[in-house]
Point group: C2
Chain length 255, copies 2
């Protein structure tokens, strides 16, 4: 397929690379910053544009991978009467935000965390897709299936729940890692000592369900240990409150 | 070394297996439940005992791997005038809880989560050790170093902080995984779709510091998305409150 990438951030970058690797052609890369457009376009052997009026109207697919609140704005400036698919890649934006601008709209939401520094194997990334109608869905499914073995249908409401679940399992989890790192620093211990525990905790739920492997003082209702921990966190009211709240909810959850 | 294991839970089991694998001899396994003592003793080619009066006084090391509040009680019933090391394996119990019963006391705290169902490579597990005096420390370091490449000194206060850090990075993290699983179930999505994200989030901090890879709506202060998420959690006041609190702390943390 001939694909036009609208955006030059982490999602656009990883998606663009994955698309070219499986044989699609990225015709254009748009970014309001010419420098950013050129950087990514060069890597993808595409043409860089910084003006939406220059978007080619003959592509097979237009992938809008920009900040949530810029999606509608970008879509509104695309050429009219596009034959190709127009999809966005956001978790928490309804597909219908694109409905005013084209009939062939949809969503391609990759459930993964991307960073420029680290390569990911796109073929194992779950891709949640939604199409405005059956024909659009099938077309999008073809595109998505060329990238990943894990494509599944997902309406906008389900996708929102997926994003919320991802905030808990990724963003908040990483925040907990940061808290643990800070506690270690404060006691002259290196973050490295806790890395094997972090990895094992994640690997355990690759084969178990998390509710089946809950452990720790809160689950055991080990009040003595919980008290010692709250006392240790005395100097950090926010962390103490978070520890108390999570312990309480976890204890009730386990019941 | 000739080692006596006091306890038959997850830590005792994994520690016992690791010790025999590197050539130590487990002389006895104690548990107040004869069945549990026999199960583990058989696997370790040791003698099972269910009475502390039967503990052999000639061993090189006594490892107390029981619930926190049972440690002192077990120690108090050991034979008097032991020459061997007496250590416990708990994160949040001061080493001095053993001081009344022997001079050669210490702590061997493995910073890992153990489950009976899943084998772990003990040689990469960080072992935090503490000895009552220099001679005890050196003896314990020899024992610990035969098990793992990652042995480090850690006093009781540091060890408590290590345990608190582990509660955030393991127990609470696993609770967040459970929350995400529940949100997915509720919307007819399988936990499997989020597994790659969980693993990638953990793997990312194997090479980065977590504070350097914070992402998500809270970090970007993306109020529109946060509002949508809070609305989606309307039916779950506890989760909504936890989401709001963590988002707020995370936003402040990032500053």
């Amino acid at each position: 397929m001939d694909v036009i990438l609208l955006g030059s951030g982490n999602v656009a970058t990883h998606l663009g690379k994955a698309l070219t690797e499986v044989g699609h052609r990225i015709a254009q890369v748009y970014s309001p910053s010419k420098t950013n457009a050129e950087l990514l376009a060069e890597a993808l052997k595409a043409k860089a544009i910084d003006n939406l009026a220059d978007v080619d109207s003959q592509a097979d697919a237009y992938i809008i991978a920009v900040k949530d609140d810029a999606i509608a704005q970008v879509a509104s400036q695309l050429p009219t009467h596009l034959k190709g698919l127009v999809v966005h890649t956001a978790g928490s934006v309804d597909a219908t935000v694109l409905a005013a601008y084209t009939m062939h709209y949809g969503v391609l939401y990759p459930l993964q965390t991307f960073s420029k520094a680290k390569a990911v194997d796109f073929s194992s990334i779950p891709l949640a897709i939604e199409g405005a109608d059956e024909a659009t869905y099938v077309q999008l499914e073809n595109l998505a299936s060329s990238l990943s073995n894990r494509v599944f249908p997902c309406d906008s409401k389900q996708r929102l729940s997926l994003h919320v679940a991802a905030v808990f399992a990724c963003n908040f989890t990483n925040y907990l890692y940061s808290i643990s790192a800070d506690i270690l620093y404060e006691h002259n211990l290196d973050f490295d000592v806790i890395r094997p525990l972090i990895l094992e905790t994640a690997e355990k739920v690759m084969i178990h369900l998390p509710e089946d492997v809950l452990t720790g003082p809160a689950v055991r209702n080990d009040r003595g240990t919980i008290e010692k921990h709250l006392e240790m966190l005395e100097g950090h009211p926010d962390l103490k409150e978070l520890y108390a709240r999570m312990s309480k909810q976890l204890r009730q959850y386990k019941k």
